[in-house]
Assembly symmetry: none
Homo-oligomer: 203 residues x 4
Amino acid sequence: MPKETFYNLPEDKRNRIIEAAIDEFATHSFHTARVTAIAEQAGIAMGSFYQYFEDKKDLYKYLIELLVEKKLSYINSEMVKNKDKYDFFQLLREVYLSGFRFAIENPRLQPIGMMLANDKDLYREIYGEHEDRSADFFLQMLEYGKAQGAIDPEIDLKIVAKMLTGMLYSLTDFIIEDGKVNLDDMKIIDQMLYFIENGLRKK
Amino acid sequence: MPKETFYNLPEDKRNRIIEAAIDEFATHSFHTARVTAIAEQAGIAMGSFYQYFEDKKDLYKYLIELLVEKKLSYINSEMVKNKDKYDFFQLLREVYLSGFRFAIENPRLQPIGMMLANDKDLYREIYGEHEDRSADFFLQMLEYGKAQGAIDPEIDLKIVAKMLTGMLYSLTDFIIEDGKVNLDDMKIIDQMLYFIENGLRKK
Amino acid sequence: MPKETFYNLPEDKRNRIIEAAIDEFATHSFHTARVTAIAEQAGIAMGSFYQYFEDKKDLYKYLIELLVEKKLSYINSEMVKNKDKYDFFQLLREVYLSGFRFAIENPRLQPIGMMLANDKDLYREIYGEHEDRSADFFLQMLEYGKAQGAIDPEIDLKIVAKMLTGMLYSLTDFIIEDGKVNLDDMKIIDQMLYFIENGLRKK
Amino acid sequence: MPKETFYNLPEDKRNRIIEAAIDEFATHSFHTARVTAIAEQAGIAMGSFYQYFEDKKDLYKYLIELLVEKKLSYINSEMVKNKDKYDFFQLLREVYLSGFRFAIENPRLQPIGMMLANDKDLYREIYGEHEDRSADFFLQMLEYGKAQGAIDPEIDLKIVAKMLTGMLYSLTDFIIEDGKVNLDDMKIIDQMLYFIENGLRKK
DNA sequence: GATGAATGAGGTTTCATTCAT
DNA sequence: AATGAATGAAACCTCATTCAT
């Protein structure tokens, strides 16, 4: 919740600040990130920062909100576009794929999320007791898949949701690290899907 | 690489320092961890700390080394004991299981590893360019399994190694969070294995 | 000495500013009082403030002047109305009484005066070397009383003037703190007068 | 409550810090007093300050405690020495006199007390709900005097206690301002006593 | 004249590390 | 070798005042 003043800023400057904040939080944890660095890089005076935001945490929360929103809209738009065309596993593929695409197009955002996930106190301050939102998301998908009869009913969905989350993160990391992955040949996705599908599909 | 003096310390005091360090680094990132807190909790003088270690990072590296060693020996001892009795999937089960057991018995060590994994700079400083040691470990296992003919040859092992790593971390986290998981009923493991095995096994 | 612009303001706005300033200076010392708070509460823009006043001190001086004026006129009007009807002690009673009444009716002004009295530097900046204007006032009264023959000639008027000042302040504070004092029963005044009169009256 | 470290300091340095603090708080309110100035004047590093005290308020509270203690012991020693020799008014004289002496010998302490008295929030933080400790002190004395039959029973002691407090402060201020008052000629005290005694004594 | 964003000096506090005993 | 005080470089944040529209 930035202050009014922030929203009144010319878009250009507002963006500079957001970009600077992303840069800083992508390379530093919340605690080691320096307000000074953000202000400097954004080309504003220290004092100005505090006219836009209550404090460092205020900016951080705002940023997280922004990123989540961006990512969700990104993923959903893909899903919504194709919802009817796919069965559960194709849907899952889309989710992973859009996740990867998002990460590739916004490589600085990945570490921010990872760092937040690792600062339990901060995470709780932002999301309350919601343990893990990503797993929740997968859990819903899985329940949908189960209802469709696509998933082996023997399988504990809660555990699989956790596993899918972990895999998504690891692979995303892998893909970004690698840098030069070309998602279009889809091999990595297919490999992964092949693995998951065999693991889940009802026989 | 602590200084000579550290190794010359009576075991009792050395342990107190290590325990204090674990406590601090388990609840704080490298940067927010305070040397003062460690010294205090260990019951040594601030000045003494710098007679045992070069600086904070020195202690940290040493600690990481220690933990890795401890974990590896933990896992390996289990494996070695049973190596001949199991096929690849049973081996994998043992690896995961011992990973969980280790985490449950040493719950403070998990967050330390997670935090390190998220501080790329620090990670690199410790492991050089070695991207991900856990994935390396799984990769070796997978190659062994492939050689045994247990694994579907279609599958890209490098990717699966990453996935296995991610799953292991996520599930470990899940198990620790939950707190009251009783590994003895093995259900969670079986669920997971069921999933993985279907995903990998040669048909 | 506010700027021209201030005096040109519509009375309503001018009053809002004065009221806001009183509120702020009644609850904060000169240094801790915030211009921002005053502007905000008065409903004017920060920039406007500096078009009305040179700076914070400018407003403050103006305010003090205003308050002194208000208080003096308050007291004098009572006195003047009744001057001929009373002897010295009755006059003194009126002074104290009107002092109390003023404080009760304007409870926010009391702390402002107290705080100023305690900031010697500020006080001097406003009143120059005039040590203590309240004592001066009492001194004049006392001299008048002495001339009338009402006061014991043995008594050093300068000292008594100081004492009367101190008592007035303390009692005013006492009365305001108490909150629910009903001046109409006059008991507190009579008690005080009884004490003072015995102390001063010529025998 | 300073930290251990402060008490372990060589007396010389400890005194330098106390002196510097007195200097700063005698000329600035709690809020405008600067830790920097104290450290500088005491000739210690900024960081050292925070090894001796929790924060600025910690030092301030300690200082107040110190001053109160000093003043009380000062007054009491005088009283105790002479308790049996004097009747109520002589005792009162001693109290005032020792109050003046204390102020003259410790002229920097007076403004500190005055400023505290004017910062209601701070005062309450230090003394809880105790409205006014000085008035309490006088009230006890007056009750003692009344019991002895020295004081006119018509008089409301609570009010007089307040008045005595106010007078004491005003006169102390007067005396210090004046600078060159020679208490030994006692005239000022006698004047004041003459006034008070007439006001209170039973007739 | 009015507005409110921009500025930056200045203050408190933290903590890794050094130093003196 | 052990101690623990000393140091000072940051970091965050506040607010009076100026500036640009």
